[in-house]
């Protein structure tokens, strides 16, 4: 039994954590535990000695027990094989906690103040253990616990209930194994409804081309030899002319149809790829920030680019060609059987083996090509890394090292390339040979049949009579069947790729943004700007909390500074206020209305953030500032830039506000970028302004100058400021100090200094460092 099957065997139910799996009842009984006594039970999956198993950790009566063992299939059915049992007195225990190890997690507790080991589990069960630890602490502390208050531990279904396979996206709940492939194709095809007529035309063109290809051998073979050249007398020249004209006509038709197919395909390809890229991009674009910061980002660019091409390929090339080649193979086979069944059997007998071998070879080829592709990407990544960091390379004389690094990647890429090419060179002649074996068979069998007929006429019977013309026609058909077969084998592999790409497309189209706007979201007519955090808790990864029970209230129009050590959760507070993420506990209110009830439009209009990471898009200075409000006039943009202290450096740029900045254009310093970012925020004219280390990259003189402007701008607006440089916060009415995930102090700077808490500590450190460089407090 694999770990995955165990996983579905017993799931910790947050609302009913006392449930005991039937399989362990005999083991419990053996240790004097009555099932009714169990008040809280969780399963871990690592036995002592690190083997997968089923460890049950539970409270029963006054005892806390750890039962280790494994469910195993025995002759008498599935049984629980116990390995060990430990029990503790519940009253001696406290401090249950889950500790993260590099690859697993560990549940520990304290017994009479001393740390004890409870069990280990894979990280998949981390959330279960964390909830269990919370309940256990309540139980040992208060004597009782409330299972899942308000259903806040809503578990995401991570695995397909049908097959146990993990969902690529738990929100979309699409199981790649159970999902019907036809359904994927149908849904993707629905996107191209508007192109149906053109796709049908392409299919018609292909069929016409295919028909011409099928007729051609007949005209230049049996018809020419048997029906025209064998006749003598006057009609001979007329028939010959007709035959030649028919051959020319089929060729011309074939060329015309092929060219029509080419034109139609090219146009459709462009339109379909455009639509697909747009669909994929807009699907991704609507998702929440967490989607982009999670594991998914790696392949996003590739996804937009490659998947569009692969999907288009399927509908434009693979599918019509499948239909055409399928029909062609069928038609040719029927014709071959009609011409001569014995010869047809000789030709067909090698085909299944040839197709099988071809599919295997293509599979291997696919692996080699993937390898070449990944090494090429790795080489490009190394190159871009090197060129991007050329200043560092030069500064540390790393040219030689980089040359070696590049050399290794280059060699890897060359060898992958060589392997793929060598394989192609080896396999294709072999494949052709196998395929051509059919022709050899036909030659051999056909030759024997003609000789037999020549020596003993009538020996083979009426249906077996074979002429040279028939054999020539037959051989043309045999050669015609190989190309579609090759294409068929290749198409089978391409289909897998295309179906995967379609699956990804549907997955992304169905993915739900974590932060959603309510259907009946409110758009307040005028915001005052009062901000309230009510017992807010948050974690980026389940179980690892960043904020716990954070509560404070900022009156409209006030300026509040947020202080704390690095990693205290200050920026997270701001992410929550701008609804980049939603709190996992508690709520945030603006003017007494829950943030979740307010429309995105209201939030974006009324809250502006200047974050520590400023990003400039490729475009002019004007475009970048106007990103905040595209309808702003040049005058408004300039006003904002003057207020942000950006006008001075902008006017030094060659084209002023029309200077191109961003990637590949004029490079701005960190402080200049920050000033543009402040200008963006000012242009929004928000009721709530968030300044997250907004002036950290500026020199003191510039910072002071901008702060004077900002002070004027901040009048009548609620402002939340984060800064490590405490002098930056001197304009704040009040300070909130964050420590250990909570608000630990609050008050005016003077009060906090008097209280001699954490703020005082930080303040003292900064004053001391100033003294060290000869600046006194009075200065």
């Amino acid at each position: 039994m694999t770990k995955n099957e165990y996983r579905n065997e017993y799931r910790f139910d947050y609302a009913h954590p006392e449930a005991v799996p039937d399989g362990i009842l005999p083991a419990l009984e053996a240790h004097g535990v009555l099932p009714g006594e169990v008040s809280l039970l969780v399963r871990a999956d690592l036995n002592d000695g690190f083997t997968y198993g089923d460890v049950f950790v539970f409270f029963a009566g006054a005892r806390f027990c750890v039962l280790s063992g494994t469910f195993a299939d025995t002759a008498g059915g599935k049984r629980y094989i116990e390995r060990s049992f430990r029990s503790f007195c519940q009253n001696d225990l406290s401090g249950f906690r889950v500790e993260d190890q590099a690859s697993i997690c560990m549940l520990t507790a304290e017994e009479k103040g001393k740390k004890i080991f409870v069990c280990c589990a894979g990280k998949t069960l981390r959330e279960d253990l964390t909830v269990f630890a919370g309940y256990a602490n309540e139980l040992t502390g208060k004597g009782a616990f409330t299972p899942d208050p308000e259903g806040k531990h809503e578990r995401k279904e991570l695995f397909c209930p049908k097959c146990g396979l993990r969902y690529a996206d738990p929100d979309a709940k699409i199981c790649p194994k159970c999902m019907k492939r036809t359904g994927v194709v149908r849904r993707t095809f629905a996107l191209f409804r508007e192109y149906r007529a053109r796709m049908f035309l392409i299919l018609l063109a292909l069929i016409a081309g295919g028909a011409a290809a099928v007729i051609a051998p007949y005209l230049s073979g049996e018809f020419l030899y048997e029906k025209v050249l064998s006749n003598a007398g006057s009609p001979y020249y007329g028939k010959l002319l007709f035959a030649v004209l028919a051959i020319v006509a089929t060729r011309v038709l074939s060329i015309a149809v092929n060219s029509l197919h080419g034109v139609l395909s090219a146009r459709l390809a462009a339109d379909m790829e455009y639509k697909l890229r747009r669909t994929i991009f807009s699907s991704i674009n609507r998702l929440s920030l967490s989607f982009f910061t999670s594991r998914r980002t790696g392949g996003l660019m590739t996804q937009v680019d490659n998947d569009a091409e692969t999907i288009y390929w399927f509908f434009c090339d693979v599918l019509p060609e499948f239909a055409l080649y399928g029909a062609q193979i069928l038609a040719i086979t029927v014709i071959m059987f009609l011409i001569n069944p014995i010869l047809a059997l000789a030709a067909v007998c090698v085909l299944p083996a040839a197709v099988l071998i071809a599919v295997r070879c293509f599979k291997k080829m696919d692996v080699l090509h993937t390898k070449r592709f990944t090494r090429k990407s790795s080489l490009s990544a190394a190159l871009s890394d090197m060129l991007g960091g050329i200043r560092v390379v030069k500064a540390f004389s790393g040219e030689e090292r980089e040359k070696k690094r590049f050399d290794v990647k280059n060699r890897d890429m060359t060898s992958a390339d060589l392997n793929a090419s060598l394989y192609n060179a080896r396999v294709f002649p072999l494949l052709t040979l196998i395929m051509r074996l059919g022709t050899v068979f036909v030659w051999a069998v056909g030759g024997v049949m003609i000789l037999m007929e020549y020596r003993s006429p009538g020996l083979i019977g009426e249906s077996g009579i074979l002429t040279y013309g028939m054999l020539a026609t037959f051989l043309s058909y045999v050669s015609l069947v190989y190309d579609p077969l090759f294409a068929f084998a290749e198409g089978i592999l391409m289909t897998t790729d295309s179906l995967n790409a379609m699956g990804r497309l549907i997955e992304i189209m169905d993915a739900q943004p974590e932060v959603k706007e309510k259907e009946n979201a409110v758009d307040l007519p005028a915001a005052e700007g009062r901000v309230t955090f009510e017992d807010v808790g948050f974690s980026y990864t389940p179980g690892v909390t960043v904020l716990e029970k954070v509560g404070f209230d900022v009156e409209a129009g006030k300026t509040v500074g947020i202080v704390g050590r690095t990693g205290a959760g200050k920026s997270t507070l701001m992410h929550l206020l701008t609804r980049m993420y939603d709190p996992t506990e508690g709520r945030i209110l603006i003017d007494g209305v829950d943030l979740k009830d307010l429309s995105f439009g209201f939030l974006r209009r009324n809250i502006a953030i200047v974050s520590q990471d400023t990003y400039l898009f490729s475009g002019t200075v004007m475009d970048n500032v106007r990103y905040a409000r595209p309808d702003a006039t040049p005058g408004e943009v300039m006003d904002a830039c003057v207020a942000a202290g950006a006008n001075e450096f902008i006017m030094k740029l060659r084209d002023g506000y029309d200077t191109k900045i961003g990637q590949g254009y004029a490079d701005l310093s960190g402080g200049e970028k920050q000033r543009l970012s402040i200008a963006r925020a000012i242009l929004t004219d928000p009721k709530i302004l968030i300044l997250d280390e907004a002036t950290s990259a500026m020199d003191t003189r510039t910072e002071q100058m901008i702060q004077r402007s900002l002070e004027t701008f901040m009048k009548g607006r609620t402002t939340l400021m984060i800064a490590h440089r405490l002098s930056t916060l001197r304009i704040a009415d009040e300070l909130i100090v964050l420590d250990k995930k909570r608000v630990c102090e609050r008050g005016t700077p003077e009060k906090l200094v008097r209280d001699k808490g954490l703020y005082y500590e930080l303040y003292k450190l900064q004053v001391e460092s100033m003294k060290n460089i000869g600046v006194s407090e009075e200065d």
Binding site: K3, G122, A168, V367, R504
Partner: protein
């Protein structure tokens, strides 16, 4: 340059047998500092490798229950056998990764890579997202991190049976 001074500024102690002793308590390491006045119990500590892939028994950082770094043991070999045993157990747990012995199946679907493998801990199924990021090759050692953060290792990809190695060929670059 006296590097030890930097440790002092950072509030870290370089733990030597002369200034510290580690004892086991319920299987967890407990740090005691030694001075002229005698031993002083600091508390239960957690041991971490500063270079988990490069140096398994050197540069071991000790942190307290609150996650604060207390100091560094530069070389475990300098410690007594009992100290090595208790710290070793702690490190083994922290860096435990099931070792993959064979691969039953590796399939790629929707950008997820599904593995069915046999490990020294038993048979396992896991899924890796974004394989080219989550599968790391350190020389011939392969570390695979699944969608939940569980890690598995193939100590030597060349030692895998040939048919199994073929299944992960695309990640061997």
């Amino acid at each position: 340059m006296n590097n030890n001074g930097f440790y002092e500024i950072a509030g870290l102690t370089l733990f030597e047998p002369s200034n510290s002793v580690i004892r086991g308590e319920n299987g967890f390491p407990v740090l005691f500092t030694k001075s002229k006045e005698g031993e002083k119990r600091v508390g239960v500590v957690e041991a971490k490798r500063a270079f988990p892939f490069e140096c398994e028994n050197e540069y071991i950082v000790l942190e307290d229950g609150e996650g604060r770094d207390l100091g560094v043991i530069r070389d475990l070999a300098a410690r007594s056998e009992s100290e090595r045993a208790v710290l070793g157990a702690c490190l083994e747990r922290r860096y435990y990764m099931p070792k993959i012995r064979g691969l039953y199946k590796v399939s790629d679907k929707f950008g997820f890579c599904y593995f069915k493998a046999s490990t020294d801990a038993g048979d396992v199924e896991f899924s890796v997202h974004d394989p080219y990021k989550s599968i790391v090759l350190l020389g011939r050692r392969m570390i695979l991190t699944d969608a939940d953060g569980n890690r598995f290792e193939i100590p030597d990809v060349d030692a895998l049976p040939k048919k199994d190695r073929k299944k992960i060929e695309q990640f061997l670059y």
